[in-house]
């Protein structure tokens, strides 16, 4: 139990997926203009990464590993994730329309999000069990949710500031990200 908690906190705060591993920079910069949309994107990422880390760990444990096909992991994982995202989208559309309305627009954007593949590969590299892998997935994606929502909150305020011409748009967002990354460095003493 203690070990699982350490994995979750470590992946959510200490090694934050965006601010210290630089995975998922695309949606982090692109979809963080408003808190609502940022929360939607974050929710979709939590949903997809949790399912993807479960499915990829199961497939690695019970299909690739016993057959000695470990070297195919990159190819298999990326195809599983791509298929999974679209399957989840279709399933949500039919079965849970309210959830689909909240997350649907963001789901296709996640297909080639490197954070999803990153979590699947980390689980294999660190030799996590299926349960540890899922916990790592949840932790990582919650870390993404925290980072993108904080960023959106700050960006809503930045809108009203007077920024020099060259720094408008992406550069000021990156400076903000740098300051957030410094703040998250403070978590490194936690575990």
């Amino acid at each position: 139990m203690k070990e699982l908690l350490i994995i979750a906190i470590g992946s959510a705060l200490v090694n934050n997926v965006v601010l210290s591993q630089f995975l998922g920079i695309c949606p982090f910069l692109g979809v963080s203009k408003k808190v609502d949309t940022a929360a939607g994107m974050g929710g979709a990422v939590v949903f997809v990464i949790t399912i993807a880390s479960l499915v990829t760990s199961l497939i690695y444990k019970f299909i690739l590993s016993p057959l000695g096909f470990e070297y195919l992991q990159t190819i298999v994982f990326i195809l599983i994730i791509a298929a999974l995202v679209q399957f989840v989208e279709m399933f949500l559309k039919k079965a849970m329309p309210p959830l689909y309305n909240a997350l649907g627009v963001y789901l296709p954007l996640i297909t080639t999000n490197c954070a999803v593949l990153g979590v699947a590969l980390t689980n294999v590299q660190k030799e996590y069990s299926v349960l540890q892998g899922v916990i790592n997935g949840i932790g990582t994606s919650v870390g993404f949710l925290i980072a993108i929502v904080i960023m959106a909150g700050i960006r809503e305020k930045i809108e009203y500031n007077d920024i020099s011409e060259s720094f408008q748009g992406t550069p000021i967002v990156l400076v903000t990200a740098a300051l957030m990354a410094i703040a998250f460095c403070g978590f490194s003493g936690l575990i």
Partner: protein, 241 residues
């Protein structure tokens, strides 16, 4: 052959993936803690890019249009796996420092982007040179950022100390390294100044009425990211269009 040199110029200068198109930002930020890592990552990406451009261009008349994205991904992922094993076998030190980011070359926007927008429409030879040009452009970008971060962060280039460090104990004056530049926040900071510089150049060019290629990456919001290579659907579901 004129077309081939034009492709290389295009990749290195006119549509430089790092400085102009802003593609592949994840590896750009993550591995540029030192110049040598930048070179290693850039060259690995170049190898994958050239080989995948070549094979996709050869197969462009065979791959059915509806399954082209999964086909491209399988081709790219196979070459990435090969490069990963070669690095692990022959350059283990580089393999250890690049770590997770080698398999993640698969989801690098540059590779799928070039496959989709160039290699799937053009003959083999220009596609190979397009891969070389784009790959070298990416390598130059990563190396430049790596050099900046390494010099400010440690006072060295490629591991060679060029700025004599201060030594308080001996009472010797010198350079005090700003360690934060080789930590994650430094990556964001360097990239912020890089994009600001690029904005400045772009604004000046716009005032003079010149045209500069627009960024195709994700820096400018996900509208630009919604192209088929970056965020589109990989498997056609049939209910599109």
């Amino acid at each position: 052959m004129n077309n081939c040199t034009e492709r290389i110029y295009n990749g290195l200068v006119k549509e430089n993936p790092t400085f102009v198109l802003m593609l592949g930002m994840c590896p750009t930020l993550a591995v540029t803690t030192s110049a040598i890592n930048g070179v290693g990552m850039g060259l690995s990406t170049t190898v994958v890019l050239v080989l995948s451009n070549m094979l996709i261009s050869m197969l462009r008349k065979i791959i059915p249009d509806s399954v082209r994205m999964p086909a491209f991904i399988v081709v790219v992922a196979s070459f990435v796996t090969i490069v990963q094993f070669l690095l692990e076998g022959f350059v283990p030190s580089l393999y250890d420092s690049l770590g997770l980011y080698i398999p993640l070359i698969v989801v690098n926007c540059i590779i799928l982007g070039r496959a989709e927008s160039y290699a799937s429409k053009n003959p083999v030879l220009p596609s190979i040179f397009d891969g070389i040009g784009m790959g070298l452009g990416f390598t130059v970008g990563l190396t430049a950022i790596g050099i900046v971060r390494e010099v400010i962060g440690t006072g060295a280039i490629f591991g060679q100390q060029i700025l004599p460090l201060a030594d308080a104990a001996a009472g010797k004056g010198g350079y005090v390294p700003v360690t934060i530049f080789i930590l994650p926040p430094g990556a964001f900071l360097v990239l912020a100044f890089l994009v600001a510089l690029q904005n400045k150049v772009r604004n000046n060019a716009a005032k003079k009425g010149k045209k500069v290629a627009e960024p195709a990456g994700c820096g400018e919001g996900c509208a630009s990211c919604g192209n088929s290579a970056c965020g589109g659907k990989v498997f056609p579901t049939g209910n599109e269009k």
